[in-house]
Amino acid sequence: MKRLLQLAASALALSATPTLAQDVVIANARLVIGDGSAPLDGGVVIVDDGRVVFAGKPAPGERYETDVVIDADGAWVTPGIFATLTSLGLADVSAVSESNDIRAGGSPFSAALDAASAINPVSQHILVHRASGITRAATTTLPAGSIFAGQGAIIDLDGDSQPVMQARAFQMINLGEGGGRLAGGSRVAAYALLKASLREAQALDGKPGIPGTTEIVKDDEVLLSRFDAEALVPVVTGRQKLYVAVERAADIRAVLALKNDYPKLDLVLVGVTEGWLVADEIAAAGVPVIANGLLDLPDTFEQLGATQSNAGRMARAGVKVALNAATMQDPRRLQQVAGNLVALTRVPGATGMDWGKAFAAISSVPAEISGMGGKAGVLKAGALGDVVLWDGDPLEVGSVPTRVFIGGVEQNLESHQSRLRDRYRDLDESELPKAYDW
C-alpha cells in the first residue's frame, strides 16, 4: 500500500522487506551521488520501479508516494560500487581448477571465449562481494592460450537468474610482458599476432559464415581460429571495446599508436602502472584507464616506475581513471584502495584524489568505462536503483553495508562466510556438536 510521504526526515519510521522492486525512499542520508561531488548531509534517495527518480537535497514541502521509507539517521548512503575488472561468477575456488573458468590455456579458442556463457549468479564470491557493497561488475576471462583473453561481460550481483546485463561488452588482450610470453616469447610477436588477427577480422567484416580465411597456426597449435577472427570483427570495427593490459610507458605509447592503423578501435587501458609518465599523452588520446591503485613495487621490468600516486597523477592530467579490482586480493578491497588515494592527499609530494573523486573512481567512472554511464555507479534520476547504506564512511577500512539494494530490490547479505560467523559466535558444544548449530 502506498503511503503519501512528506519529504521531511523526521517523519520516517516504517520499513519492510521487499521481494520485488518496490518504491523506496531513503531519507536523512549522508548522501554520496558518486559523480565525484562531495557527500552531502540530509540527502534523500527515491527509487521507483527499480530506478532512481531523485537523489539529493529535497525541496521543502516536496511530497512523494512510496511503499517503503528508510530513515538513514545520518548514515552514509551511496550508489553501489562498480567493480572492474573482476572474475566474479567465473570461479568458486581459484586454485581448484575444475571450479575455475577464468583461464582456458588448453582451449584452441581465445578471442571467441565469452565469459557470459558461464557466470554463476550465486557463486559465493558474488554473495560475499554483494555484501561488501558491490552491485555491478565487469567480469572477464584472462588470457592463457593467446594474447586474447576473450570477451568480458557486465553483470549484476543480485543473484537472480539473469546475471548478465551485457554480454560481450569488451575484448581484452595483454600487450605487455605477459602478452609477449603468450604470443611465443616477445612483445614483437604479440604485436604481429595482434595485427595479423585484426587484418583477418577486417577481411571478415560483413562476411559472416563465409569460409576460406587462413588460420594462424604455429606447429600444431592454432593461434587464431576462424571463430576467433570473427569475434574480433566488432573490435576492429569499433563496435566492441578493446581493453589492453599494459604497464610500461613505452608500451602504453605503442598501444595508443594502434589508433593510427586502426582508427575505429575503442581502446581502454588496463593496469597502466607507468601511466603517470605518459599521462598527458593518454589524456590527449582520450583513452580511459582502469588503473592499478596502490601498486608501488617494481614487480616486473615493465613496472619500474610504480607509485601509489599513479592514479592521482593521471587523473590530474585529465585521464578518466577507474581503479582496477584485478590487482587486489579480492575486489571488496576497492573501497580500501580508494580510501588510500584520499590518504595520499596528506602525504607531501604524493598525488591522490579527494574523497568524492576517489569514490567516483570505484562507482561512476568504471560504470562509464563499461558502457553504463548514467545507469550504474551513480545516484541520479534514471539510474538503476543500486543503493547501499553503510555502517560508516564507505572508504574507511572496516566499514560494511547494512543494507544493499540492486535495481530497487533489497538484497540478502548472507553467504557461506556469514553462516560460519553465526555458527562460531561461541564454541559451545555442551549439548550437541557444532554441526547441529545452523
Partner: protein, 462 residues
C-alpha cells in the same frame, strides 16, 4: 711495460707460495693443522647491525598506543641513546635541550612488526632469477636458512618502512616443504649485506607447512608426501631421526638436524603454515609427541574454530584480516577470525605474507577489529595495535627488546599523521633504534635501493 711488470710480480708471488708449502706437503697427517668449522654457539653469520646515530627526541601531545594494550592521550614519548627513556602523560619530564616534535592531532605507536614476510627471498622484481624462497627439492629442508636467500636491495623493504611503519620483520622460507628451513628476523634498516640487517639477539624461527602445498608439490612428482597423512608421516619420521641425532653425542654434524635439535631445545621457534583447524590440532599433538612447541600457526584461516585449543596450548595465530577462498583450505576464511580468537583469549597477530599488504598492516588490523566490534566483541584500538606490535614481537621472541614503548626498549617508533587504524593515515616519521630512518616531510630521508637508481621513479614518493 707496466703490464709485464705486474704479471712478473704475480708469478713471483705464486712461486714463493709454492716454495713455502713444500715442507708441509711432506709432513704426516697427524702433524697437520686440524680443521674445524665454528659451531653455531661460537657465532656464524653474526649480525653486524648497529644502530645509526640519532638525537635525543621527544614526541609531545600525540595519542600514544604503547603496543601492550595501553593508550595515553596527550602523551609524551622520550627517546635517547637509541632507547625509549620515558613514556607517559603530558607531565612526563623531558630534558630542555632535546628535539621536540609537536604531535598534536597525531599518533605514536611502536614500530610495526610483520611476523610473516618473504621480502628479500621473493624480492621485486619478481623474476625467476630472484625466486629464492622455496628450496623445493625435498619435502624437508631444515638445513636451509632464509637469510642466505635475502637480497638486501629488495625495494620492498623501503616501501614497508615508508608506508607501513615496519621496523622489524621475520623473513620465512616458503611453504612448498613440510620443513622449509630457518627464518631470519631483520631490522628494517637498509644494508649492503643481510648481516647488516639481522636483528641482534633475535632467536631463529623454523618454518613448517601443513596441508595442500607440500602434498601438491611432492605428490605431483610421484613422491611422498602426496596426502595429508603422508605429510604427518614424513614429519614424524624426520623428528624421530632428529631425536636420535640429539641423543648420539658422536653423530657427525648435520645442518638440518642441528636446526631440528634447536627446536627440540626450545631455542628455535616453530612458525607453522597451516590453514585448517583439524590440521592445527594434529600438529599440536605431533609437537607434544616429539617434545617441541609450536609458537605460531601462520595463515590459520580456521583458527577461529579452535580458539579454545589454541589458548590452552599457548599458540599464537598469525593471520590475514580478509583473505579467503583462493584455495580449498582457505574456503572457510571469515573476517571475524581475529575477533573470535580474541574472545577466547588466544594470541592474535596480524601478518602480511605479501609485499603490498606489509605496507598496510595497520589497516588490516582495523578490518579485523571492526568485524569483532560489529558482533559486540570488545576490542580496543590499543589491542588492535598490539596485534601488529607486541604480539608479533612476542611470537618472534624479541618482545624484551622491541614491540612496545617501554623504558629501556629499542626506540623503534612510528609517528603517524592521524589515527593509525584509519585508511587516511600514514607514517610521518619512523625511528629505528632512535635513528630517524623515514620522514615524509624530507624527500631525502627515505631509502632508495641500488636497484632503483637511475630507473624511472627513483626517489619518488611510492
Amino acid at each position: 711495460m707496466g703490464a709485464f711488470a705486474t704479471l712478473a710480480s704475480a708469478l713471483a708471488l705464486g712461486a714463493c707460495a709454492t716454495t713455502g708449502t713444500a715442507d708441509d706437503t711432506a709432513s704426516t697427517k697427524s702433524d697437520a693443522k686440524e680443521f674445524a668449522p665454528k659451531t653455531e654457539a661460537e657465532g656464524v653469520f653474526p649480525s653486524t647491525y648497529s644502530p645509526y646515530p640519532g638525537t635525543a627526541t621527544a614526541l609531545k601531545g600525540a595519542t600514544v598506543f604503547d603496543g601492550k594494550g595501553g593508550k595515553i592521550e596527550n602523551g609524551v614519548v622520550f627517546m635517547s641513546g637509541g632507547k625509549i627513556v620515558a613514556v607517559g602523560g603530558p607531565e612526563t619530564p623531558i630534558p630542555a635541550d632535546i628535539a621536540v616534535f609537536d604531535g598534536t592531532g597525531k599518533f605514536v605507536t611502536p614500530g610495526i612488526i610483520d611476523i610473516h614476510s618473504h621480502l628479500g627471498d621473493y624480492p621485486s622484481p619478481g623474476v625467476d632469477a630472484h625466486s629464492d624462497g622455496n628450496e623445493a627439492t625435498s619435502p624437508t629442508t631444515p638445513e636451509v636458512w632464509a637469510e642466505h636467500s635475502v637480497w638486501p636491495q629488495d625495494p620492498g623493504f623501503a616501501r614497508a618502512l615508508a608506508n607501513g611503519g615496519i621496523t622489524a620483520l621475520q623473513i620465512l622460507p616458503g611453504s612448498a616443504n613440510l620443513m622449509g628451513g630457518r627464518s631470519v628476523t631483520l631490522k628494517n634498516v637498509p644494508g649492503r649485506t643481510t648481516q647488516q640487517m639481522k636483528f641482534p639477539g633475535a632467536p631463529y624461527g623454523f618454518k613448517m607447512a601443513c596441508g595442500e602445498n607440500p602434498k601438491r608439490v611432492y605428490g605431483g612428482r610421484g613422491r611422498m608426501p602426496s596426502t595429508r597423512m603422508g605429510n604427518l608421516a614424513v614429519n614424524r619420521d624426520t623428528w624421530l631421526d632428529a631425536i636420535d641425532y640429539a641423543n648420539d653425542k658422536k653423530a657427525k654434524r648435520d645442518l638440518g638436524k642441528e636446526t631440528l635439535v634447536g627446536v627440540l631445545e626450545g631455542d628455535i621457534l616453530v612458525h607453522n603454515h597451516c590453514y585448517r583447524a583439524d590440521e592445527m590440532a594434529l600438529v599440536m599433538d605431533m609437537a607434544k609427541e616429539m617434545g617441541y612447541k609450536v609458537t605460531a600457526f601462520h595463515h590459520a584461516v580456521e583458527a577461529y574454530k579452535i580458539g579454545d585449543l589454541l589458548r590452552e596450548n599457548d599458540v599464537c595465530s598469525a593471520i590475514w584480516a580478509d583473505w579467503y577462498g583462493f584455495k580449498m583450505e582457505s574456503y572457510d576464511g571469515i573476517l571475524e577470525n581475529a575477533a573470535f580468537l580474541q574472545r577466547e583469549g588466544a594470541c592474535v597477530v596480524i601478518h602480511s605474507d605479501d609485499s603490498n599488504d606489509i605496507q598496510r598492516l595497520n589497516q588490516e588490523a582495523r578490518k579485523a577489529q571492526k568485524a569483532g566490534l560489529r558482533l559486540g566483541i570488545d576490542i580496543s584500538d590499543a589491542t588492535a595495535i598490539q596485534w601488529i606490535t607486541y604480539n608479533a614481537a612476542k611470537a618472534m621472541g624479541i618482545e624484551e627488546m622491541t614491540g612496545s614503548l617501554e623504558p629501556g626498549k629499542m626506540a623503534d617508533v612510528v609517528l603517524w599523521n592521524g589515527d593509525p587504524l584509519s585508511v587516511y593515515s600514514r607514517p610521518e616519521k619512523v625511528w629505528i633504534d632512535g635513528a630517524l630512518m623515514y620522514d615524509a616531510l624530507d624527500p631525502k630521508r627515505r631509502p632508495v635501493s641500488d636497484f632503483e637508481l637511475g630507473q624511472p621513479g627513483e626517489g619518488d614518493v611510492k
